[in-house]
Structures are given as C-alpha cells and as structure tokens.
C-alpha cells in the first residue's frame, strides 16, 4: 500500500511511450494499429488514475508526494539555495484532474479513430494527442509551480500543433487554420508572462515553489477530526487499529513519502498540524497561511510589502495566466478561432481539459486567492462578465462549433467566477461536469459535421453520376477535403443543416442530453454544478464580510444567472437549427449516422452527463443524499483544496435558475422552431421576432462584439505603427543613419583613407619601389658586362689571372 502512489510515474510514462512509438514507428503501423496504440496508452493511463483513486479512498485521502526514479533533483543551484525537485503529487485534486483528463481523453481517442479516418496525417494526430496527454498530466501531477508551468507550456504547444493540424488545406483555408494556431500561441504567451511573473514573485517571497513539502499536512482542520477516527494524515502508523502499518518500519526509505509521516519511527509523535515545522521548510501554501497569520513583511531590497499585498500581486499575475489559458476576458479571443482544429481536438483540448488548466491552477492556489480579497473580487467580475459576454455572442453564431466555443468560454467564466467567490469546490465540480457534457457536445457536433460532409459528398456523387463520371473520384475520397465547388459549401454552418434528428438518431439523442445538461436542467450534471456556483455567489454576497467580497458575490450572481439563461437559449437554438425542421441543404438531406467508434464515446459521455452531477449532490434535496451521500466531491476535494467548502442548497435559486433555463428553451423553440430556422440567404428569425432592436441584438452578437476588430484597432495597429515609427524613423533616421553612417561608417572610411594613401602607398610602397629601382639601376649598369661573347669572358679570365699573378708576385719583388 505504501508504494501505491508511485504508480503516478506510470501515468506519465504511458502516454510518453505512446507518443514516442507513434512518432517513430506510427507511419509504418498504419491507421488501425496506430490508433489502437494511442488509445491503449490513454486507456492504460485512465486505469492508473482509477488505481490511484482507489488508493486515496483506501488510505483516508492521504496526499502523497512521489519522487520518480529519474530527475531526482531537477533544478538545483547550491550557491543560490535553489532546489526545485521533480516530484509528483497524488492528492484528491490531482487525481480528479487525472481521471477527467485520461477518462475523457480515452473516449476522445476512440472517437478520433473514426473521425480522422482517411486523413493524410492520421498517425501524427494520435502522436500529438498522446503528447498532449503527457503534458497535461505533468501539469496536474506536478508538486510545484515550475512543473505545472512545464506542463502548461507543453499543452500550449500541443494546442498550437493541433489547431493548425490542417495547415495545408487548399483555397486559403490552411492559412486560416495556421493563423488560428498562431493566434492561440501568441494570446497564450501573454498569459504565460503572467504565470512566470507569479512564479518568480512566489519564489522571491517563499524561497520555494513546492505546493506542499513531503511531511506537511495539507488541511490541518480535517486532520484534527480524523485523528480521532484512527485514519489520520498525521501519522497513521501510530494508530493501533492499523496493524499492518506498524510492521513496516522501513517505509520512510521507499521512493514514496507519504505526507504526514513526521518520522519513520514507529509510534512517533502524531502531528495534526504543521506547527512543528519551521516556516522555511513549508511549501508555498503553508508559508502563505503562516505569514498571513503573522502579518509578515516581504522585503524587496529597498522596500517591503505586507504579505497580503504580495499575495494580491501574485494572484493577479496568476489571473492573467488563467485568462490566457482558460480563455477569459481579455485574452479569450484565441479560443473561438481554435475551432479551426479537428473536432476531437476542440473537445479534448479546447473544452474538456487544457482550457481548464487555468481553473485548476487557481483552485490549486486557493490559499493565495482566499487571502487576496481584491483579486478574488476581480476574478469574480472577470469570470462573470466573460460568462455573460460569451453567452451573448453565442446567440449570433451560425457555425456549429463557434457556438460551442463561445459556450465553452462562457462556462469557463462560470468556473472562474466560482473561484472569485471562493467556491473552489464548486469550480472544480463544474470543471468535471463541464468536461463531460462539453466534450459530448463537441463530439456530437463533430459527428454532425462528419455526417453533413459525407452527405455533401453523396449528394455530389449523385449529381455527377447524372453528368457521367469525371475527375471527381480522384479528389473525393479524403475526408474533409475542400471540394472544388462552384460555390463553397460550409459543413459547419448550421443554416445548411436541419432535420438531422431522423438521419442521426444517436447523435441527436446524446446531443439533446448534452444540451440539457449544459442548460442546467434537473437532474442532469450541469444543474448541480451550475446551481452550486450560483448558490455560492449568492451566499458570498450575504456573508462576504467586507464590501468588496459582498459586491463581488452579488454582481457575479446576477451576471451568472443571466448567462445561465443565455446558455439555455443558444443551445436550444442550435438544437432547432441542426436537428429539427426540414433539411435546408442537399448535404443535410443525405447525412448518414456516424460509425460506432464515434457514437460509442457519445453514449458514454451522455451517461456521464446525466449522472455526473450526483457525485456532489447537496444535502437537503429530495432525499438524494441518502442515495449518493451529500457533498461527496467537495469533501473529497477538501483534502487538497483547503478552502473548498460545501454550500448548503438554495432551493429558491435553483428554482429560479431552472425556470429561467426552461423559459429560455421555450423562447428558443418559439423563435427557431417549426421550420423557422433560417437559410443561408435569410435573416435570422430573431430579427423578425423582435422588430425593434432585434437586428441590433443579433448583429452585435453575430459580429462577436467586435473583439477582434478592436484588438486590431487598439492594440495591433498602434503596435504596428509604433514599430514602424521606431524602425523607420528612430532606428533608420537617427540611430542608424546618424551613428552608423557618421561615426562608424565615416570614421572607418577616413581611417582607411589615411592608411591607404599616405601610409601604404607613400611609405610602404615607396620604400619597396625605391629599393627596387636602385637594384634595377645597378643591374642596368652591370648587365653590359655580360656580353655573351666567349672571348670577352676569356679576356676577363686572363685579366683575372694576370691580376692574381701580380698580387702573388708583387710582394716577392718588393722583398
């Protein structure tokens, strides 16, 4: 049992192995084996996650920190006292995320095998999916913020790769796709700057990045209660009832360090809190709690700030990161464009898992947010505003996936707002249920698009059969290929659909279930989670304690309530446009139901969307707590999210929200139902129904509130203009021309002139030439000696001999 948490290493390794295998041998395996490989990796990871879940249940929800058998000390700088270990954390929060990521991930892998069938880069797709799982699992299992950041960047990369997966589509579609990928990358970089700043500031303040150190107790309050029931986090070996644990004295040496084991000795002191640990040895959250209690001042060299202020700054930077990854105002603009990716990617990355990373980070850092009142207020406002804004934009979209994309932004706004009002448990609850029904809706929309594309294809073949066969077959087989048409056909445009309920019954039924769950209809998953967020913000308004938190609670409550109504309206509008009425295009008329590998995940997710809410039923509703036990999920999370708390059920709010949702559904039915859904050329029925202002309301939503245009107008264009000014005027005119030309260029030319003309030509060349001409002059004089005539030489020899003789004889004569 002690080494059980070490399994968490496997959950990282399995997708990594799947990724490596698919990367190197995938193309040779062929579609079938490659998809089996990828899917198996995801499903095995899910198995591991389930094992970890059972472990946590069996061990009294003890958090565990695992040192994997590699990368022991990850970043260590002795002189600077930096030590960032590569440790994996198994606690209720991380296991929840693991279950969602691998569970929904497995289903989407299965679905992809059907959806991507025939794609030219089929194996590449599974390679990327497994890589994504790997990074997402690093993100959720890391025990420090830097590991989280590694995963954070990794999933960003995978998101980029998968949004731009069809970068080579013809007719400019490929450009649109890769631009969307770049947009996601750049918007996320802005957010990542915030995360990095938060991490740096945290490191400066606490000297560590670990969430909790091994041996630390996460939630002291719970431990205090549970010591009595002999299942304590603080040292279960000491408990007499746990006989088998007492016989394992060497467990301290195992790779796993179970938190709360103060000392490896048997019957060591039982700690129910962290008071015995010095502040410097606590993780960031433990230190933050203690510093807040002691009113600690954080020194920044020349000045110091109280810990409360520092926490506000840290959390604000984190919020910036979350607005990037979790698509909140002002950085959400990338998410709707990210729908350029294949639909399974939209389901997995851009609805169920990656985009919830920001919410996960904020829930993980609940201690910070709990102690930063100002940030919590801002978070609540941003979340609620995003929820209502995106919900409104979704009203005016015709693209089936764009509606879901804005819906995702809106639902993420719910989660962020929940964090803002301190309902961390509710935020995670909504994260989980949303993963179910939004993945379901995206996969359903993928099934619809797939069906319409096939229908389009079939309709075309029939038309071509009439004219006799031509080159069509050569182009027709690749799925999703842009057809070389006289008029472009958009298989995602809901105005081209209608009447699909009869053609695609399984897709239809599951889609309606997903819609009802998302709209918050009792007793589906979305009802419970959305209601808990609403109830929590309502209660926060009353019990906030200060003006700021009360205001945040009430504002969030009102905005979210309206957003919930909008949700029901735009979702039912979609149902009417897609499934009811009569087919508005030949393609929709010929759409077939999708294959089993695509409908199977839909069915599973539909079941989860129906029953997923019961993991956290409140305590006083219709006696449900007797079946499912109340606040299960929140209590489970309390073991890792210190400030998660269960809110009592608010029947009034629940009824109002439910009534609003049902009213919105009927409103949508009366506007769009009975075949009133529009053709491509028509007005939207909303405009006809509300004569005054309807056009404006719809137009604004259809134009997405001009967010992109305003980004261009207020950020990109000024930025481009400034860059041009800096480049052309400042750099070229002043810096480049003046300094480079005048000082460097002219100075260099001047020195070269001096060196070249007087020095080189004058002195050096002159000297050499003079020596040369002297030699030449002498040799010109000398050459006359060499006449070439033999007799001249003979004369000189004779003269020489005479000379020698004279020299020899002269002295003798003188003697």
């Amino acid at each position: 049992m002690e080494n059980y948490p070490s399994l968490v290493t496997l959950i990282l390794f399995i997708p990594l192995i799947g990724f490596v295998l698919n990367l190197f041998v995938g193309p040779r395996l062929g579609e079938r084996l490659s998809s089996i490989l990828g899917t198996t990796a995801a499903m095995l990871s899910f198995g591991v996650a389930v094992l970890l879940w059972t472990y946590l249940r069996g061990s009294g929800y003890e958090s565990a920190v695992v040192n994997p058998p590699f990368l022991d000390g990850w970043i260590q700088i002795g002189s600077a006292n930096v030590s960032i270990p590569w440790q994996l954390r198994v606690d209720t929060l991380s296991v929840t995320m693991m279950l969602v990521v691998t569970g929904v991930g497995s289903l989407i892998h299965i679905y992809s095998a059907g959806y991507m069938h025939g794609d030219a880069r089929f194996t590449r797709f599974f390679t990327y999916l497994n890589l994504f799982l790997f990074f997402m699992l690093i993100l959720v299992t890391g025990n420090n913020f830097l590991m989280m950041f590694v995963g954070w960047e990794g999933v960003g990369l995978c998101s980029f790769l998968l949004i731009g997966f069809w970068f080579d589509r013809p007719n400019g579609v490929g450009w649109k796709n890769s631009n969307a990928a770049r947009k996601a990358m750049i918007a996320n970089r802005v957010g990542d700057f915030g995360v990095l700043m938060a991490v740096f500031l945290m490191f400066w303040t606490f000297g560590t990045l670990d969430y909790y150190r091994p041996g630390e107790i996460t939630n002291a309050e719970l431990t205090g209660h549970e010591t009595a029931s002999a299942v304590s986090e603080g040292g279960h070996e000491a408990a007499p009832a746990e006989g088998e644990h007492a016989a394992a004295p060497a467990e301290g040496e195992a790779a796993t360090t179970t938190e709360g084991h103060g000392t490896p000795e048997i019957a060591g002191p039982v700690f129910t809190d962290n008071e015995h640990i010095p502040t410097a040895q606590l993780g960031v959250f433990g230190q933050a709690e203690r510093m807040v209690k002691e009113n600690h001042q954080v020194s920044f060299g020349s000045f110091s700030l109280p810990i409360d202020t520092v926490l506000v700054i840290i959390t604000l930077f984190m919020l910036l990161g979350a607005t990037g990854k979790s698509a909140q105002i002002p950085l959400f603009v990338w998410l709707p464009d990210a729908m350029a990716g294949p639909t399974p990617v939209s389901a997995l990355i851009h609805a169920a898992t990656m985009v919830t990373a920001g919410v996960y980070m904020m829930c993980r850092s609940n201690v910070f947010f709990f102690n930063a009142e100002l940030t919590s207020f801002i978070v609540a406002i941003i979340g609620a505003t995003t929820a209502i804004m995106a919900g409104y934009i979704a009203l005016g979209q015709w693209d089936i996936k764009k509606v879901l994309a804005y819906s995702t932004v809106s639902q993420l706004g719910f989660m962020v707002a929940a964090v803002g009002v301190g309902a961390y448990g509710a935020a995670m609850f909504h994260l989980v249920t949303h993963a179910f029904f939004k993945a379901l809706l995206f996969l359903g929309s993928g099934s619809v698009i797939h069906g319409v594309e096939h229908g389009h294809h079939l309709a075309h073949e029939r038309a071509h059969d009439a004219h006799g066969h031509d080159a069509y077959d050569a182009h027709g087989d690749a799925h999703g290929e842009e057809h070389h048409d006289d008029h472009p056909f958009d298989p995602q445009d809901m105005r081209n659909m209608g009447g699909l309920a009869r053609k695609m019954p399984i897709t239809f039924i599951t889609y309606v279930i997903g819609t009802l769950a998302l709209a918050g209809i009792f007793p589906l998953a979305g009802f419970w989670s959305k209601d808990e967020i609403l109830a929590d913000s309502w209660l926060k308004g009353f019990e906030g304690g200060s003006f700021l938190s009360s205001a945040g609670g009430f504002i969030a409550f009102v905005l979210l309530l309206v957003a919930a109504g909008l949700t029901a309206f735009y979702m039912w509008r979609q149902i009417e446009m897609v499934f009811f009425g009569s087919a508005r295009s030949e393609a929709a008329d010929h759409a077939p139901e999708s294959v089993f590998s695509m409908t199977f995940p839909l069915i599973v997710l539909a079941i989860l969307s129906i029953f997923g809410g019961f993991i956290n039923t409140p305590s006083n509703v219709l006696g449900l707590e007797n079946i499912f036990t109340a606040h299960n999920f929140t209590e489970w999370l309390e073991h890792s999210i210190v400030h998660a708390h269960a809110a009592p059920f608010q029947p009034g709010i629940a009824l109002v929200a439910l009534g609003l949702a049902i009213a919105a559904i009927f409103a949508a039915r009366s506007i769009y139902g009975q075949g009133k859904s529009s053709h491509v050329a028509d007005h939207d029925p909303l405009i006809d129904r509300i004569p005054s202002g309807g056009a404006t309301i719809f137009g604004m939503a259809n134009a997405k509130l001009h967010w992109d245009e305003n980004y261009f107008r207020f950020i990109e264009n000024p930025f481009n203009k400034m860059s041009q000014f800096l480049a052309n005027t400042v750099d070229w005119r002043f810096w480049h021309d003046y300094f480079h030309d005048t000082v460097i260029g002219k100075g260099f030319v001047g020195i070269s002139q001096i060196l070249a003309k007087p020095v080189d030509l004058g002195i050096i060349d002159g000297l050499v030439n003079d020596v040369g001409s002297v030699v030449k002059w002498i040799s010109n004089r000398m050459r006359v000696v060499q006449t070439g005539y033999v007799r001249t030489y003979a004369v000189s020899v004779l003269l020489g001999v005479v000379l020698v003789i004279v020299i020899l004889i002269l002295p003798a004569l003188q003697r």
């Binding site: 070439g788 005539y789 033999v790 007799r791 004369v795």
Partner: protein
C-alpha cells in the same frame, strides 16, 4: 747547351701566342687549338723546371695536363659538333644568347 731560361722564354712566347689566339680568333676550332698551345706552353715550362731541379713532380704534372687535355678535346670537339649542328657555323661570336 740550352739554358732553362731559354725554355721558359719559348714557353712564355708560346703561351702568349695561344692566349692571343684565344682572344682574337673567332673560329671555334682555332680557339681550341690555341688553348692546346697554351697547355703545351705550360707543359714546356714544367718540363724545363723539372730538368733544372732534377725532380720528377714536373713530369708528373705534364702527364696530368696531357691526360686532362685529351679529355678536354673529347668534350670540346663534341660541343663544337653540337654547336655546328644547331647553328651551321662555328663562329663563337654568334654564340651570345647569354648576353645580359
């Protein structure tokens, strides 16, 4: 009885004649013969002195000179033939390609 001085005077006269021949003649054969004349003039002087001093070294040198002269003739005549082949003349004044 002839005195050594007579021989030396004769030798000197012959040598000067040879030297004048070398310097003044243009025909390579005659040039060559003049050289031989100079060699034999020196031979005469050597023999004369050897007789005067009654020593054999002089004779020895004469034989050396004769041997060297023979070798020289072989080489020299070959050269002259070669020159004649290329120039069709043995006028040494025509051989001034080495002029500086």
């Amino acid at each position: 009885m002839l005195h050594t001085t007579d021989f030396v005077i004769l030798s000197a006269v012959l040598f000067i004649l040879g030297a004048m021949g070398v310097l003044l003649r243009r025909n390579a054969i005659l040039l060559f013969m003049s050289v031989e004349l100079m060699l034999n003039a020196s031979n005469l002087a050597l023999v004369a002195f050897a007789k005067q001093w009654n020593q054999m070294e002089g004779h020895l040198f004469v034989f050396f000179v004769i041997a060297v002269a023979a070798a020289e003739v072989a080489v020299g005549l070959a050269l002259i033939v070669a020159i004649f082949h290329s120039k069709n003349s043995i006028n040494v004044d025509e051989l001034h390609q080495m002029e500086g």
